[in-house]
């Protein structure tokens, strides 16, 4: 039945008069995309898997020799790499939690009748539309201990946001929260406006308190869409590069993608960096899978 539906091309249409069938049109659209994906995604992915078992360096003409699992073994035994992973994990937790709290909170505030609601929502979305590099550069100025407006506004004197090794990662996370909370807000707002009004009315009749209403009605109904926002933000935060790279060069903010970049394009250890990229890929896949499992459970409820 499905195939019948798919191949029914209106016999009077211009496409049909030119002798094009449904299948032909489908191929015309899909084949270039698939070719593109194979050439630019699948092929490099498989090719780099091969490189990850060699000592290949793109900067020399020396042929690549097979070294088996040596790259993986050495990387997983390198304390600096583990430190990079720990930093990345800390960054993901701080940044995504911050975005969810701020984004969801703003969405709750906006989910009522207020004047200029459309305008306010649009303005709040602006940070997300800026380029990462530009955001990094101007937050660097905002954080400056000598003339930055943040220290001036908060009366912190010459507090060193970016030069202080303990603070720098939080400073980067704050910038990320500022930039991406609107994304969480937007998705939450869509979820919130879909909650049926009559549920709140029923809760009000039963004299449910605001906390009870929030945890028993609002949160469960928004949870699936909020989970999607969290999945996206976690994946992005895990891969973060630009903000941390531009804002500071503290070893305490060297997230895994910065280490990977240095290994691949400054040291030109191509084989080893392929192995590291695969380790990162496997981790992201694992984390995403856990989320998706959880998301399905939430949906079933």
């Amino acid at each position: 039945m499905a195939t019948v539906v798919m191949t029914s091309l209106d016999s009077k249409s211009r496409a049909a008069s030119r002798g094009l069938s449904d299948i032909k049109i489908r191929n015309l659209f899909i084949i270039p995309t698939i070719l593109f994906l194979i050439v630019f995604n699948i092929f490099p992915l498989i090719y780099s898997l091969g490189y990850s078992f060699t000592d290949f360096r793109a900067s020399t003409n020396a042929p690549a020799t097979f070294v088996g699992l040596q790259n993986y073994r050495e990387l997983l035994n390198d304390p600096f790499i583990w430190a990079n992973f720990a930093i990345t994990a800390k960054y993901v937790i701080v940044s995504v939690t911050g975005q969810v709290v701020v984004g969801f909170g703003t969405a709750m505030l906006l989910n009522r009748e207020i004047p200029f609601k459309g305008l306010i929502t649009t303005l709040l979305l602006l940070p997300m539309m800026l380029s990462m590099a530009v955001v990094g550069l101007f937050w660097k100025l905002l954080y400056d201990p000598s003339f930055g407006i943040i220290n001036y506004a908060l009366g912190l004197g010459s507090f060193e946001w970016l030069a202080n090794p303990d603070m720098a990662l939080y400073a980067v996370a704050i910038t990320d929260i500022w930039m991406w909370s609107p994304f969480v807000m937007l998705l939450s707002l869509a979820g919130l406006s879909a909650v049926p009004r009559h549920l709140y009315e029923a809760a009000a009749i039963d004299r449910a308190g605001p906390f009870y209403t929030f945890f028993r009605i609002t949160l469960p109904l928004v949870a699936p869409i909020l989970m999607i926002a969290i999945i996206f933000r976690t994946m992005e935060a895990f891969k973060t590069f630009d903000l941390a790279y531009i804002l500071t060069s503290q070893p305490t903010t060297e997230v895994i993608s910065i280490r990977l970049y240095k290994m691949a394009f400054q040291e030109w250890q191509t084989g080893r960096s392929c192995a590291l990229a695969y380790i990162v890929l496997i981790m992201v896949l694992a984390i995403t899978n856990i989320y998706v499992k959880y998301l399905n459970r939430v949906k079933e409820r």
Binding site: T60, S146, P165
Partner: protein, 435 residues
């Protein structure tokens, strides 16, 4: 109809002919984005006026200069005909065949005698003492210091300094005086700080800064011919030098943990620090009143001597090489013949470039041309450089990883940092079969 087609074909043919002839008359030089690149553009404009060959100096910020150049090399791209590459690239670029061998050109023009010896040794020759040359010294450079003459010559300050330290306040002659003066002028409550040093760990900034201390304290990074590092990089002298550098960090302006040449010049222009470390290449901006409101009261001195009287400075600067994948190698060679002429080198110095030509450097005219040229001339005969082996980038990153937390955050001790570094370097050299 046939006529139109014929006309069209002729037009297309003409277009191609123009395009190819224009191409052979154009050369591209790749360099980092800084003032000397602008001076070089001015110089090559004169070459164009003379010969009709148009040369463009293409630039990119320092932070990704290395990455961009090597990405192009590795792809065997012909976008750049020549590159003014960093001295430490020479091992990697020559071993991989990215640079054209210039030994014949070098010997034919006796450049060994024409250019200052240190520049030939570090910018052109690889491996060390092999007699093989890969580039022509183009921009000589080293680290020097600028200072605030008005602060130093203030009678009240001079009196207070003498009372506290027992000797006259003047540009420091050794690292002990450098430390004392930095401490003396460090007054955070007045928003005035003692000293500006390099701390940026994204490329070679911090390492260059620390090298100034290490070399002047009589230390070395290792034995460049045997790759031995044990007891050299972690020697007593180097530990002392690193401790002194860490101490100086305490007298820098707030947030000085990612600073390189831009910030260090700002330290002088924005009245932040009494003394500032920087490459000579950035000093023209400091004597220019348009870019430095304190131009009239800015002085310069060479890197001071260490406790045992050794006086060295970290080498910067670059040589110009021809890229193997260029389609205009002959045209590029002709340009180099013009570039090494005495009059060109003299003009290069006049425009603000730091010539490596010994004849120009030794001339009275050059040494008196600016307040810092004499210090530059003296420094260029006592410079030392980082490893130039193909795996230098790994060595650089390892050094940054080990010393940055100690210098900027006081984590661990200097001895621990350097011992760990010796271990890292040994492992790297072992991996590449150098030892």
């Amino acid at each position: 109809m046939r006529k139109t087609v014929a006309g069209l074909m002729a037009g297309i043919g003409f277009m191609f002919a123009c395009a190819t002839s224009a191409q052979s008359q154009e050369l591209t030089i790749f360099w980092a984005e800084w003032d000397p690149a602008n001076y070089l553009q001015e110089l090559v404009n004169e070459y164009e006026a003379e010969t009709g060959v148009k040369i463009t100096v293409e630039t990119t910020p320092w932070a990704d200069f290395q990455t961009k150049a090597f990405t192009e090399f590795n792809a065997k791209g012909s976008a750049y005909d020549m590159v003014v590459g960093d001295s430490q690239w020479i091992g990697a670029a020559s071993e991989a065949g990215h640079y054209v061998d210039l030994t014949e050109f070098f010997n034919k023009h006796k450049l060994n005698d024409v250019m200052a010896p240190a520049t030939v040794k570090y910018y052109s020759e690889y491996p060390a003492n092999s007699g093989k040359y890969w580039s022509i010294p183009a921009e000589g450079d080293a680290v020097g210091w600028s200072y605030r003459k008005d602060w130093f010559e203030d009678p009240k300050e001079m009196e207070a300094f003498k009372a506290k330290y027992g000797y006259d306040l003047a540009p420091p002659k050794d690292w002990k005086q450098l430390r004392d003066i930095a401490e003396f002028f460090h007054r955070p409550d007045q928003k005035r700080y003692g000293i500006a040093i390099y701390t940026d760990n994204s490329y070679d900034g911090l390492v260059m800064g620390v090298e100034n201390a290490i070399f002047s304290f009589g230390g070395e990074l290792g034995d460049y011919s045997t790759y031995k590092v044990d007891g050299i990089i972690n020697s007593e002298k180097n530990v002392k030098a690193l401790e002194t550098y860490r101490e100086l960090y305490g007298f820098t302006p707030p947030g000085w943990a990612k600073s390189f040449f831009v910030e260090n010049n700002q330290a002088i222009t924005e009245n932040l620090a009494a003394m500032s470390m920087n490459y000579f290449a950035f000093f023209p901006a400091l004597v220019n009143e348009a870019s430095n409101p304190n131009a009239k009261v800015t002085g310069f001195f060479a890197n001071p001597a260490g406790p045992e009287g050794h006086q060295y400075a970290a080498l910067g600067g670059q040589g110009i090489s021809i890229v193997s994948y260029s389609e205009n190698k002959e045209e590029a060679m002709k340009f180099l013949e013009w570039f090494i002429k005495d009059e060109t080198q003299k003009r290069w110095a006049e425009l603000g470039g730091y010539t490596a030509s010994a004849k120009v450097l030794e001339s009275e005219e050059f040494q008196n041309a600016t307040p810092y040229n004499k210090a530059f001339y003296e420094t260029m005969f006592k410079v030392k450089d980082f490893w130039a082996t193909p795996e230098y980038a790994e060595l650089l990153i390892q050094m940054n990883q080990r010393i940055y937390p100690y210098v900027t955050a006081g984590q661990g001790t200097a001895k621990e940092a350097l011992d760990a570094l010796a271990k890292d370097w040994n492992a790297t050299f072992k991996k590449y079969g150098r030892q």
